[in-house]
Subunit: 344 residues, 2 copies
Amino acid sequence: MGALTRNSAITLDAVARQAGVSRATASRVFTSNPRVSDDARRAVEQAAEKLGYVPNGAARSLATGRSDSVGVVIPEPTGRLFADPFFPRLIRGINEVLTAQRLQLVLFAPQSGADEDRLEQYLAGRHVDAVLLVSLHGSDPLPGRLQERGIPVVVGGRPLERSDLSFVDVDNQAGGRSATEHLLGQGRRVVAHIAGPADMPAGRDRWFGYRAALERAGLDGDLVEHGDFGYQSGQAAMERLLARRPQLDAVFVASDLMATGALRALSAAGRRVPDDVAVIAFDDSPIAGTTQPPLSSVRQPIEEMGREMARLVLRLAGASHQVPRQVILGTELAIRASSAAGRR
Amino acid sequence: MGALTRNSAITLDAVARQAGVSRATASRVFTSNPRVSDDARRAVEQAAEKLGYVPNGAARSLATGRSDSVGVVIPEPTGRLFADPFFPRLIRGINEVLTAQRLQLVLFAPQSGADEDRLEQYLAGRHVDAVLLVSLHGSDPLPGRLQERGIPVVVGGRPLERSDLSFVDVDNQAGGRSATEHLLGQGRRVVAHIAGPADMPAGRDRWFGYRAALERAGLDGDLVEHGDFGYQSGQAAMERLLARRPQLDAVFVASDLMATGALRALSAAGRRVPDDVAVIAFDDSPIAGTTQPPLSSVRQPIEEMGREMARLVLRLAGASHQVPRQVILGTELAIRASSAAGRR
DNA sequence: CTGAAAGCGCTTACAG
DNA sequence: CTGAAAGCGCTTACAG
């Protein structure tokens, strides 16, 4: 069972013979080694073209100790993974940097503990040269384990427990704070918060930013309900908030997706946005501009985060010693109709 | 630049020495070869545990001719890829079958022609044992090229031009036809269609199903506008249809996402659904149940499609000869409020 | 059950 | 610039 037959493909030897040179010379052509005569190079290239030769990746990896690929691990249930507009932008940024270095981006989306265990073996087996991890819940042991095995690892988003890991994050707390301050600046006084999961740093930090802003304004920062960053959870959280404090006049929601759900709940409850309740979200994803009314949102430099993650992990891969490094990127507000109008 | 240093890891030799056995015996333990004494097995397992040994993937691949991994290629702009609820379900189905065979699922999302070229080299380099491709536009040359190199390939969705490729598809034409017949059965007479891209088989087949149903009813099947399966395009297409034929009383939309956009356009135009216009979509994704009103939709067995793709490619990988094989899966209607109510 | 040895298909100092 | 040769870290008949 599960026996995959071996497919014989063209070998470097065949190309060298066809071109009338040694294997070494032929190899130099494919490794872009400059010490090859033009004649030899041409002969090898022609032979390769004719035979349809592509170097065997395993053999090359074994000889060089590199795979020229970088793994990106997104341990999200695929449903969430694909629904969240955060990931495509991040991946685009990562891919930009990798492509420039001719490195292959390889994605993994483990769906269970068993998946993750197998993946750890796979990655530890050096199938990739470096690993990027995003969207970790709680304290996922994977990045730490890989790093201990000497595999260069960079985490997207601050890991909850470990401080010896390299990571790139946006300043979630500052973002949450400025979003909340924006609402206060509009004259709102009963400001609620729909937070992300409490076991995710992005969720916690935005929440802490909210609390900090309210405390600084001398207000209570406990009108908080948690969601999972998804649409449904935002709707449900908004309903709970309205039940708890019908007179709330503003809400800071920790993701655009949840905010879309919150808008639906507000509309169902007969509240006008922004007249009755001002709303500001987090992410500034494309959907922020398409809701009714368009959502104010905290803009994250997600592509830049991806680029920075890739740059960082390549630097780690190039170094002999792994010195953890962390990069924090700033946010800015994108103000739209959901929070723009004054109260009266 | 781009030099990734080689990280020395524990080798099988070290484990064998530590365990006091030969490399061959140690190897047998990791390949689950039964011809190993219990004592030797224990010693090797302890040594491996102690040293943190994981077999080097490249070396193993080179020796066995297999990588024990299967690639899934989704050549979509990542934006679309992640927005479409189709992919996560498909991947879940694929992963189910691969996991049972202890095969690693590896994802690729090439974003450009250059990405695809590099990916072809990568896959041709035998980094994976088999390849699954989905969501091909027009006549993507990738699956054909890989197949010619002897790599087992299965395409998700019927390829537009090649008939020598193995594929798994849902019966899009029958689905489009029964959706349209459902609308006709409700007494609707001016039935429009928002089609997918004309260069994608799924788009064409659903459209042909629509035409077939109308022709059979003796009606005109030319009230058609095309979109790209995405939200925005559905909204725009609906607007064009309303402009072309204000009196239309039903519309069959080729995807749930486009239907969501169409609902918005209908609402903006003051049309009630289903009273003025009955709507039925295609996909029956989770969003179908969350729209206002909930969307009737053609249900595709997407997980099963994923499973079938994986099964098929493993069969091809196990065979010495590649005999193209095609599997067509049936659809069914999920009727909800958007098309359920009668006209009066 | 076990080990010595060949071989998987490359790369890369080394010597010319 | 070129080639012979060693080596990358495994697996697997083969002989015992």
